[in-house]
């Protein structure tokens, strides 16, 4: 009985740790997206010079990790999934909060199946919609791979593979690779 309690307690702790990691990874990714993805920002091109203003923009975050939006890269996901050194996150609900990062408003938004991306962005007056595939961790839980689907229009954006490394209690983005282009 005691053993069972210990196991239960450990699994709760581990589950919390996982959820905590997941939230941290999500925060890191959102931070990166809001600060690094240039198309979110207002650009001025003039006489071979470029000015970038961080003006207020809106990013919509799909609150569920899903594979539906990643059909076009299913072979890459399968490849990682088939790697014995990685395991896939079972948790499917994210908790993006309405917040402002780097002058960009982050807002949870459930992407409907029956609307074109251009219409969604126009209706929501948003600049981009972001969706995440289920997180993939290595066995040591020190590395995470995140597929991020980022659409700034029907023909703008792409799917990116973020590789994050755990540094102490925090997660840092180690590499970003473009997988598809819209």
């Amino acid at each position: 009985m005691i053993k069972l309690k210990i196991l239960l307690f450990a699994s709760l702790i581990f589950g919390c740790a996982n959820q905590n990691d997941q939230q941290k990874i999500l925060n890191t990714a959102i931070e990166y997206i809001s600060s690094e993805n240039v198309p979110f920002r207002k650009m001025h091109y003039h006489n071979d010079s470029i000015l970038v203003d961080n003006q207020e923009k809106i990013i919509l975050i799909h609150p569920e990790m899903n594979e539906f939006h990643f059909e076009s890269v299913s072979s890459q996901l399968e490849k990682l999934r088939g790697n014995d050194n990685y395991s896939i996150e079972k948790q499917s609900i994210l908790h993006p909060k309405k917040t402002t990062r780097n002058g960009v408003e982050i807002r949870p938004y459930h992407i409907p199946d029956d609307k074109r991306m251009n219409d969604i962005l126009f209706e929501q007056q948003a600049h981009a919609v972001v969706s995440f595939a289920p997180f993939i961790y290595n066995d040591a839980h020190s590395e995470a791979i995140l597929f991020v689907n980022y659409a700034c229009g029907g023909l703008c954006g792409g799917i990116y593979q973020y590789t994050l490394m755990k540094n102490g209690l925090e997660w840092e983005i180690f590499d970003v690779e473009s997988i598809t282009i819209y």
Partner: protein, 699 residues
């Protein structure tokens, strides 16, 4: 962007980058070791390595009671020795071998450069095993052969990956281990035999020379070319090549002299002011040397079984001087590898040089050069063709035709069918051409699947050059889509989405300029296929790359399968937009670039915005879109294509709102207008949409 047969000349290929960065490394190493050069030279003579030499110097300083200098030297030694170990001298055989193997070779290249490949040729395996590669020359041998491999690889990239397939299909597999390498002071020369898989015979000899000054020359001579010499030849290297064919044939297959006696008596006509040879490249008589390295080139080291009646003079290796290259260089058509080829093929160079001297037609000069390098024509045939083109160009009736297209089409078909098209025969009605090629219209009407791809490419070319070329097989090929489906694959998901499939077919049948120069280019690419899919994606379309299968995948949203929620023009715009992404990727990968590496883009597309994104954004997504807007003006091409497929309803401006989709953020004008509703195109777009535009796929 119109890129079909004529290759982009001004863009660096990956191999060049590697060479440049390699050279930069070498320069760096030289600078680091500069202060030590004196010691290195000093101790080289004593056969001591750098570390030992420096240790000696440091200990000497200490012995001389100069500890500060000793410590400084020690620090210098640690740094320099480490650098020295990381960056060995360029002539280190180990480094050379590793650097070549480390190159990102395609499977085709890996096969071609492999020494293991000969194990698949039963009659060759034993012969090569008997060759002696030991001895003190083996490092020089390995290094020289690797340099030759590197050159051929660069050449392959330069020729858009057509060169190696050409050699393997038409000549044979190189037997690198059976090469002869000549050591000529600081210069090197490599002779490589080529053997077909199904015949015990030397079918070609490849020669590569690199001088101490960095000058190079290169030639690949086939048995067919040698045998086609009728009574005399103007190839100055012919006697040397006869000896080499014979020597390799004797060593690998125990061949006798019979076949070569006939070759050996053909006189060589000297070219006027065109070829020259350094004294030391004159070959002695041949013998079976151990370790395949010829160290005394101007003395009779080959003398076991010389060809009888071959004359008393040693054959020499000739390179071309300015007399047969000046106009080629001036035209700017030759890059580094091609200059090497020209240097080693004086008779061809002479023909092309003379043609360019008489005609300001660099594009045709380039086609002639390509055809010569790919072995489509012998030097004599090149001369006949150049004469025929000369006559054609001087005919006032042909003043308004696209001569380069005519020649290009002719040569492509010569390469694939061995005949010249009827169109060319009509337009270039010269006796020389008629005598050489008997045109046979029926050849085309039969729709031989093997030939269709090349003919189809010609058709696309012709479409793009305002129909100046006649294409007798056009209808025939359009009805036979089998070959196209092999290259452009439709996934089941695509075919079952009838609406999207239908729009694709409309675009295909329209053969408009944008479609031909993007998706159409995959019909020509021998490396990459294009696959169309339909899937649940959150955007309208995506382009991705399946590295394992060398397929570029173009995915269209399944949202478009429902005809009620979008127009056919939306689907067409998406296919065209994604087709451009696919073409940009193919264009880079066909030239050996890593299309995922953002750093290479500014090298290929010289634009400040492309450069800025490469440095700041780090995504190919941004860079592709910047190229589409800032470099090649694809927006206008998309709008024009949509206007064309929609039966030219309204004006091209009416289609620009659709064409700008996904690209506004990359323009100065519309960067702040995410949805494009404040542009002058938006009211026109609304007018267009109000007319319920259709391509006949939404019913």
């Amino acid at each position: 962007m119109y890129v079909l047969y004529t290759r982009a000349r001004k863009q660096k290929n990956r191999a060049t980058f590697e060479q440049e960065s390699y050279t930069a490394f070498q320069n760096f190493a030289v600078r680091v070791l500069c202060g030590l050069r004196k010691f290195i030279n000093l101790h080289k003579s004593k056969k001591m390595n750098l570390k030992t030499s420096l240790k000696t110097v440091v200990s000497t300083f200490f012995e001389l009671k100069l500890p500060v200098l000793g410590l400084l030297m020690l620090l210098f030694c640690i740094t320099a020795c480490n650098e020295h170990e990381v960056l060995p001298p360029s002539d280190s055989p180990a480094e050379s071998l590793e650097s070549f193997e480390a190159l990102n070779l395609s499977a085709e290249e890996a096969d071609f450069f492999s020494d293991e490949k000969i194990n698949e040729i039963p009659h060759l395996k034993q012969a090569v095993e008997q060759l002696d590669h030991n001895g003190r020359g083996r490092f020089f041998f390995a290094r020289s052969v690797q340099k030759t491999k590197r050159f051929v690889r660069n050449m392959n990239h330069q020729m858009e990956h057509k060169y190696i397939p050409h050699i393997t299909q038409n000549v044979g597999q190189p037997v690198w281990l059976a090469s002869y390498v000549a050591k000529l002071g600081g210069d090197m020369m490599t002779f490589v035999p080529l053997v077909p898989a199904d015949e015990a015979i030397i079918n070609g000899v490849l020669v590569y020379q690199k001088t101490d000054d960095g000058d190079t020359s290169y030639s690949l001579t086939t048995r067919e070319q040698m045998a086609s010499v009728e009574t005399e030849t103007d190839d100055q290297n012919y006697p040397l090549l006869v000896q080499m064919f014979y020597e390799f044939d004797k060593q690998l297959f125990n061949a006798g002299t019979e076949a070569y006696l006939d070759w050996g008596v053909k006189p060589v006509i000297e070219l006027e002011d065109c070829s020259t040879f350094p004294e030391y490249t004159c070959l002695g008589r041949m013998t079976e040397l151990p370790n395949r390295v010829i160290t005394l080139f101007d003395t009779p080291v080959f003398d076991s079984t010389p060809l009888p009646d071959f004359g008393t003079e040693f054959p020499c290796y000739y390179i071309c001087d300015a007399g047969c290259t000046a106009d080629i260089y001036a035209s700017g058509i030759a890059d580094e590898e091609e200059i090497a080829w020209i240097n080693g093929n004086c008779s061809y160079a002479d023909v092309i040089d003379d043609f360019l001297a008489d005609n300001d037609e660099p594009e045709i000069g380039q086609i002639l050069l390509d055809a010569a390098i790919l072995g489509y024509l012998t030097a004599t045939e090149s001369k006949r063709l150049a004469n025929a083109i000369d006559v054609y160009l001087n005919d006032p009736d042909n003043a308004n035709t696209d001569a380069a297209c005519v020649v290009q089409e002719a040569l492509e078909d010569i390469s694939s069918i061995g005949e010249v098209p009827l169109a060319l025969m009509c337009e270039m009605s010269t006796d020389l051409m008629a005598a050489k090629f008997s045109a046979d219209y029926e050849t085309y009407s039969s729709c031989n699947p093997v030939d269709i791809q090349l003919i189809r490419t010609s058709i696309i070319n012709c479409q793009n050059s305002n129909g100046n070329c006649l294409c007798p097989s056009f209808d025939c090929i359009l009805n036979d889509l089998m070959i196209v489906e092999d290259i452009i694959i439709k996934d089941e998901s695509f075919e079952t989405c009838e609406r999207v499939n239908c729009v694709y077919d409309v675009l295909f049948d329209s053969m408009n300029e944008l479609f031909c120069s993007t998706i159409g280019n995959f019909m020509e690419s021998t490396i990459f296929d294009l696959e169309f899919r339909v899937a649940n994606i959150i955007g309208d379309g995506q382009t991705t790359y399946d590295e394992e299968n060398d397929i570029i995948i173009l995915t269209i949203s399944n949202f478009f399968c429902d005809e009620s929620e979008s127009t056919d023009l939306n689907v067409a715009a998406t296919i065209l937009h994604e087709g451009i992404h696919a073409e940009l990727r193919r264009y880079l990968m066909d030239r050996g670039y890593d299309a995922n590496n953002v750093e290479i883009y500014p090298e290929v597309w010289d634009n400040y915005l492309v450069e800025w994104y490469a440095e700041n954004s780090g995504t190919t997504n941004d860079i592709h879109h910047a190229i589409m807007v800032r470099v090649d003006n694809y927006v206008d091409l998309i709008a024009e294509a949509l206007w064309q497929v929609n039966d030219q309803v309204f004006t091209i401006e009416h289609y620009k709102h659709l064409a700008w989709d996904g690209l506004r953020g990359y323009s100065e004008q519309y960067a702040d207008d995410t949805y494009g509703i404040n542009t002058s195109f938006y009211p026109l777009h609304q007018e267009l949409m109000a007319s319920n535009p259709t391509l006949g796929c939404d019913q």
